[in-house]
């Protein structure tokens, strides 16, 4: 499906643009989650085959001819775990932000100069 592939790329680019231009730490994490969604859409649409159905072989799919009737199961399996891991990673980043805010009382990237050169 070419449209969903384009949609995924656009989301990825918008997310990266947001991550690069925004100063607020929480906005950067929002940009990260948009990039996450975009990547997942790209991977799933690479696995899509035109006119075929989901890889769950119940009564509406012919069991004898199942190999020619279903889409690729591997990208689905990959993305499924990636979404859960993405949630945990987002939680970890946000707790870093809470910790930083409790220390410095600021959410702006400009106020964190320790690692600048």
């Amino acid at each position: 499906m070419i449209f969903s592939l384009i949609l995924g790329f656009l989301l990825l680019i918008i997310g990266i643009y947001g991550m690069l231009t925004q100063k607020n730490l929480i906005k950067i994490v929002i940009g990260f989650s948009i990039v996450d969604t975009g990547t997942h859409i790209i991977i799933v649409s690479i696995g899509y085959l035109r006119g075929k159905t989901a890889p769950i072989i119940d009564s509406s799919v012919d069991i004898k001819n199942a190999v020619n009737a279903v889409v690729d199961p591997i990208p689905s399996a990959l993305v499924l775990t990636a979404i859960v891991i993405g949630l945990a990673v987002t939680a970890l980043m946000l707790s870093f932000i809470i910790k930083l805010y409790q220390k410095n009382r600021s959410l702006s990237v400009d106020d964190y100069q320790e690692l600048k050169w």
Binding site: M1, I41, G47, A77, T90, Y101
Partner: protein, 82 residues
């Protein structure tokens, strides 16, 4: 039919992504980011991946939004602390 739904939802998702980047109010930005994952699960279903759609529906529309809101809450309370 599938192409029409994907195009309309895709335009909405891209606009929502722009809003999430652009809006000044953090809570509004989080709501816009929620719209993206909400509609993403419909798109996964159209791409014949119901497992992914269910995961995204459970995590994207609920938990991600809530974790962001909890962060905002901690920051607001920290503001009022001293």
């Amino acid at each position: 039919m599938i192409s029409i739904i994907i195009i309309v939802l895709g335009i909405i998702m891209i606009l929502a992504a722009f809003l999430a980047i652009r809006l000044k109010n953090l809570l509004s930005a989080i709501i816009s980011a929620g719209v993206i994952s909400l509609l993403a699960s419909v798109i996964y279903l159209l791409l014949a991946a119901p497992d992914v759609a269910m995961t995204e529906a459970a995590i994207g529309s609920g938990l991600t939004t809530i974790i962001f809101i909890f962060t905002l809450k901690k920051i607001r309370k920290g503001d009022l602390d001293d």
